[in-house]
């Protein structure tokens, strides 16, 4: 069991706010963390990693990482962390990037095999594509044999084809290493495909918590999942009007009615909210 109860004052782009998060996570869970930008998602992840300070308690099984008396330094937490911007060691080859974490050549080879990176093992990071870099970053994170794998929007800079493949690899590694995984993401498909639990943060607080189905489809709890996007086009397919929306490099088609269509303009920034059965565009 992982227990988190942290408090931190944040100075964000939208002004100051308090991050107050209380969470219990079962070991082996895949937890997706969603919410608008500035809601405290990354800070939560970075605080758990030990990259940022906060007051409160973090307990991983029997180990106490943070309480009033102590804060275990990031080096000793032995987590896996995947950054959105890869953060590979630029001076080291793919293999050296992995071995820098732990000189376990067997594990390194196994990971490179699994992710089909073995033939690239002697390349420097700046000779790799974005997708390849992120796979290296994922392998590197597993070199710690982490109990806890943290990922901060790992796929949002990856092109859609590669994204699908990486999602599968993330899931495979999550299961194989039996880690508890926390992933910040904006993508509904990722939440659905990967996570068994999702929380939505809003202004530093957990606004919704449950299985992806409960959280994303249930309107009774009054909480809304909202995505910002750009309306690219409205097309007519038979009697149906489809809004084509770009959200985070993903094109989403959403059926709308003619009254909605009249209120929308091409190129406009819109937000998509869930209610019980359909998506609303505003």
């Amino acid at each position: 069991m992982i227990s988190i109860d942290i408090h931190k004052r944040l100075h964000g782009a939208i002004g100051d706010m308090n991050l107050n998060i209380k969470l219990e996570i079962q070991e082996g869970d895949f937890l997706a963390i969603a919410g608008e930008s500035g809601s405290g998602k990354s800070t939560l992840l970075r605080t758990i990693a030990g990259l940022e300070e906060a007051s409160g308690v973090i307990k991983i099984g029997n180990e106490v990482w943070l309480d009033t008396k102590r804060s275990i330094p990031v080096q000793k937490r032995r987590i896996g962390f995947v950054f959105q911007e890869y953060a590979l060691f630029e001076n080291m080859s793919v293999l050296e990037n992995l071995l820098f974490v732990d000189r376990d050549i067997e594990l390194a080879n196994e990971l490179l095999d699994m992710t089909e990176l073995y033939k690239l093992k002697d390349r420097l990071p700046n000779r790799l594509s974005g997708g390849q870099k992120q796979r290296v970053s994922l392998c590197r994170a597993m070199m710690n044999r982490p109990k806890l794998l943290l990922m901060d929007e790992p796929l949002s800079a990856i092109d859609p084809n590669m994204r699908n493949r990486l999602q599968n690899e993330i899931l495979t590694l999550h299961k194989k290493f039996n880690t508890t995984t926390l992933m910040v993401t904006h993508s509904l498909s990722e939440i659905y495909k990967l996570a068994n639990r999702v929380i939505i943060l809003n202004f530093g607080k957990v606004e919704a918590d449950g299985s992806p189905k409960e959280v994303l489809l249930n309107s009774n709890n009054g909480q809304k999942l909202s995505f910002e996007g750009e309306l690219l086009d409205i097309v007519k397919v038979d009697i149906l009007l489809l809004a084509i929306v770009l959200v985070n490099q993903q094109i989403i088609k959403i059926p709308i009615d003619s009254i909605e269509a009249n209120n929308l303009k091409k190129g406009q920034r819109i937000s998509i909210n869930t209610n019980s059965f359909t998506l609303n565009l505003q």
Partner: protein
């Protein structure tokens, strides 16, 4: 032509390079932790430290030389301490020159290193901490290898600047042949004694050396940048 050079002693040049080599090595070791601290800290004392380390850039060398002379002299507690416990005389000695040069050339080492470290990808450093590596290991294996152009600039500019210093050296070291009479001081003396021939030769050597040192830095940095952009095509 050979006659012309026969009368020239190259001792002052050797002394200049020896001084520059010692100063550069000592400053390199001392500056890495300090430059690292300045590049990473969010502390309120940062601007004060930056201002202090940059002082030698704007202070007249005679002012710096005067203060160092005062501190190094056996009449001051510090000078007396070194004299008594280590038998080291800091005034009019080569050791004193090295210490004085370290003060004088400090900003030329600190500033390129600091901006090199500041330009490093922060998440790359965090990834190293997450990998279980200490700050020391991160500096050695990640920060230094990834800021090679800044490192080279710092080393060479510090070296060249120390070779080129004059005021501080003259104040603290005087002009003792084979001990503290470096090339720049020798040139000054030639001019004073109206030996323009020797002054010309010394000055021309200094000019050429300085030019080639700087040229090599710029060529190296240009190539590094090219290599980098090539990879990104």
């Amino acid at each position: 032509m050979s006659e012309l050079f026969n009368n020239i002693s190259f001792e002052p040049f050797l002394l200049s390079f020896k001084l520059a080599l010692f100063t550069t090595l000592i400053l390199f070791i001392l500056s890495i932790p300090l430059a690292w601290y300045l590049s990473q800290t969010k502390s309120k004392i940062k601007p004060y430290l930056e201002a202090i380390t940059a002082l030698p850039l704007v202070l007249p060398p005679s002012v710096l030389g005067f203060y160092l002379l005062t501190i190094f002299s056996t009449n001051s507690p510090i000078g007396a301490f070194f004299d008594k416990f280590f038998d080291i005389k800091l005034v009019f000695s080569f050791t004193g020159l090295v210490v004085a040069s370290c003060f004088y050339s400090l900003p030329f080492m600190i500033q390129p290193l600091q901006s090199g470290f500041e330009a490093l990808n922060k998440t790359m450093l965090e990834a190293s901490y997450i990998s279980g590596k200490s700050i020391f290991q991160t500096i050695i294996y990640i920060a230094i290898p990834n800021s090679k152009p800044a490192l080279l600039t710092a080393l060479i500019v510090t070296f060249a600047h120390t070779v080129g210093e004059f005021g501080v050296v003259l104040m603290v070291g005087g002009s003792i042949p084979d001990k503290t009479k470096v090339a720049s001081v020798a040139i000054y003396e030639f001019v004073e004694t109206m030996d323009y021939n020797s002054a010309h030769i010394y000055s021309a050597i200094m000019l050429l050396l300085s030019f080639f040192v700087l040229l090599s830095v710029y060529i190296f940095n240009h190539k590094q940048r090219q290599k980098f952009t090539e990879f990104h095509r």
